[in-house]
């Protein structure tokens, strides 16, 4: 895959918020969006034939260095939502994803956010494998 192509690919992950994810305000608790972002980036990887499980089995991990979320409207129990994930930056040592959470029935945007990751080995040391891991032809 060419880098530009990878950077332009948006992958959609559908989900229905679980009762466990609601709080007593009657909406989805704010930390759960980070769980959904994780599901979103997992599906992004699966869309290019990779799984995060396989990456870990090969000894490469993607710890999160930073995250941001902007909340626009509350997500609600059992509504059909989608997380749209794309890669916003890729270097040999860094990976950034951008996300949008959409209400699929109403077409409204509920939140957007980002996560920044390092490529590390099991000991936590940086590994310069970003392009190889995502099968990116960086030339």
């Amino acid at each position: 895959v060419k880098l530009e192509e990878a950077l332009s690919r948006t992958v959609e992950y559908s989900l229905r918020p679980r009762y466990a994810e609601t709080d007593q305000m009657g909406v989805i608790y704010y930390a759960n969006y980070l769980v959904w972002f994780e599901c979103g980036r997992t599906e992004w990887l699966r869309s290019i034939g990779k799984t995060y499980a396989a990456m870990e089995a090969e000894g490469v991990f993607l710890p999160v260095l930073r995250c941001e979320i902007d909340y626009h409207a509350p997500a609600r129990y059992d509504r059909l939502l989608a997380v749209r994930s794309r890669i916003t930056r890729l270097t040999p040592v860094r990976l950034e994803f951008g996300y949008e959470v959409i209400d699929r029935e109403r077409g409204t945007k509920l939140a957007h956010g980002m996560t920044r990751h390092a490529f590390v080995d099991a000991s936590g040391a940086i590994v310069r494998c970003g392009f190889e891991m995502l099968d990116i032809d960086a030339r």
Copy 2:
């Protein structure tokens, strides 16, 4: 410690339910009691000078084989609660805890339950180390 003494020891773990643990019914979501049970048994172990973290570092794990919970009254956000944990059964290969969740301000019982554990090594194989792990003099 003598076995009878270990079996008669009840250890109390205090907690305030977190907003994250509420659901849209306005009470604590039912799965969180299992998390509190885990905190309770961790404190039970700490009370005899053991930590579960140290047990794992020694290569002994306590996966759960079975659990049960009976819910009597809803737990609510930020109330001061206690989990009372005790060992109800100990053999070289099995460990069972019983738990009560109490509202400390009102004195009411909110739930009770149990978990059954095996002593296993990192590969999942049974280890006959129950008495040693808990420093129990079983004679």
Copy 3:
């Protein structure tokens, strides 16, 4: 729907365990099965044209009175699993679900369990609406 038919219906809910649901033993943390059970019974209701969200909007809630889980083999991150849910008991005031968690790729059973529910209104008072709520013809 006739009661016998409702009692014989098994509904399958597919899921991939999330990274958030793993623990440092490398498997799925034991409380998450209760979250999956909740997803399973939600899909059971959806299969007969009901949603739990609509039940709550009508003022009927299904708090959990009791749960049990037996764990047979660990569930692992990102594997394709299914929760098979069925109703094991229905009265005007009580509802019980039985669940099996299956590894869909390997065909193995990972866990089974149950939850017992009451039909209550927003104030927590028992409502004798079990058959109506599930559109059961109990004669």
Copy 4:
């Protein structure tokens, strides 16, 4: 309380990460910091004699508009940590908290972050009650 005094107050909330909060990387899953931030700001409010539970009972809610986290070093199971929370901005309609997560035994900073909140009523409408809610004398 004078505004300057409120803005200079840092409140510490101690916690031990729960096994439930670990993931298969052997560290605390990244979303749980948002749960700890929530515990931290709850304790900040308690330190001035307020509880978030009482605020909700009065009909004022603090939904999150934005959050950020920077992760410096992994948090680990059962270590004694502290969340240090302070208010970084307060207006009649907005409230911002800043947080640091510290390893209390080692003195190292594990993460820092922020959350931005609106003051709203049960219908979600903005309420200009920031100073009153926190008993701030804004002159």
